[in-house]
Symmetry: C2
Subunit: 295 residues, 2 copies
Amino acid sequence: MTDFPTGDLSRLSLNTATTKALTLAEAVDVATRAGLGAVGLWRDRVAEAGLEEAARIVKASGLRVSSLCRGGFLTAAEAAGQAEALADNKAAIIEAATLGTSELVMVVGGLPAASGPSGPPTPGGDRDLVAARQRVADRVGELAPFSGEHGVRLVLEPLHPIFAADRAVLSTLEQCLDLAAAFPAEQVGVVVDTYHVWWDPKLRELIHRAASEGRLAGYQVCDWNLPLAADSLLSRGFMGDGYVDFPTITTWVAEAGYTGDVEVEIFNQEIWDAPGDQTVATMAERYLELVQPYL
Amino acid sequence: MTDFPTGDLSRLSLNTATTKALTLAEAVDVATRAGLGAVGLWRDRVAEAGLEEAARIVKASGLRVSSLCRGGFLTAAEAAGQAEALADNKAAIIEAATLGTSELVMVVGGLPAASGPSGPPTPGGDRDLVAARQRVADRVGELAPFSGEHGVRLVLEPLHPIFAADRAVLSTLEQCLDLAAAFPAEQVGVVVDTYHVWWDPKLRELIHRAASEGRLAGYQVCDWNLPLAADSLLSRGFMGDGYVDFPTITTWVAEAGYTGDVEVEIFNQEIWDAPGDQTVATMAERYLELVQPYL
């Protein structure tokens, strides 16, 4: 039996990507036993359980659903790809509403030639980053009213510039806020994920801006580890294992007035290979040491 | 014998880091035979030849020296480390003046715990990014007058945020321009290296700002290749091999009024292993295809 640490874990949320080997029911179970306040759900785990059953499981647990991950992949240049993206994101919006979360995290996709939702990067092709970013804004504009009707917010996630080619052409919090500005705050928000934005020279100012505009929809924490993993997507670590200054960034988030959940979303093969209870115990320990005191 | 392409290569500069296996004399020789207008020199190759001899070689060649790489490593928190950095940068300033270039490229260093000029990243220790950045500004302030006295400009290089922990805490062109604003334009400038800034949503605006403030001291081109190399420092490619939109960015640089040299600086093991003539021929071809028509 793993011992879970004692302390105020009421705002800590387990993102199911952190315990990739667990089913949704198993992730909800460990989060509940550890005394967490919430879970963040990925759509693959929801689909596996079935949407209605997933909604029943989380409701029965008493946990909040801090977010649903993820909508997005909005950069297609062709009509067919755009129609597919709209249909898939509308489905995700309905899933979020059914699961009882208002926050749908959007990973908007990379250059069309560089990636697909499932494919590996391919060289060559369309390198027009400006146009890809405009298409993201266009698609968000088409989705935002539908999202609002369902009580769900499209939460734009800036991804680290390391992923600008193949994962997300939204690269900074400022860019996300500038895009969001055209829409009501209850339809389009932003999320601060330390892994993606820790390096930003304007981070404090932008966190305050996001909060003052009513768009700070989530706070996700994990560390920037070095050396980078062979698959750089998996280079995340527990808080304290890398180079992110969690006390400082958390203080900025708290000062800005954020009172929501703090999700831990770590992609890391070694962590995925460990037992779920051990992973949740470690993340709770690190949260109590490096994040919770500064909230 | 490698055939070099014909075309206007008068603004193309070979950075000696691209042909790592060549001595300074060999790099100058191939640049001259290929019809390039300039070379960018690294201090290790200069030291190897001896400063006076290096200056003699480049002067005899008739090539311009577009820049000297590199000064920097200014983030030390201890007095000894700071004194060492000041001494080393003063030496670099004198070298630049002796070699006949006004532009000293500054790679400012990462978090003190994460790197040294030669050491590998180490975990733990000082994660205070805000303080590290302030120390960079303080050191630049101490060096700028000395630099100005020698007719040399400190050219701040924003490095891709992938290197924020271990290589350079200056991560965006905006941050560099904000830091530079406290100093005369002839003492502190900035360089645009496509590899480091291609992803920046504000790139066009910032290139124009740099030029209008008289600080656009250099334009370096190489591509962002995927997948990343095991050592991410070596993930650079010839223009056209990755995801950077060279025609667009070059157009922005030209519109802004930049009339200087275009340096090619590629760290890539495969390119380093190839014959120097072949490397210069390929970079010249790609330059004529993707960069020169837009200048």
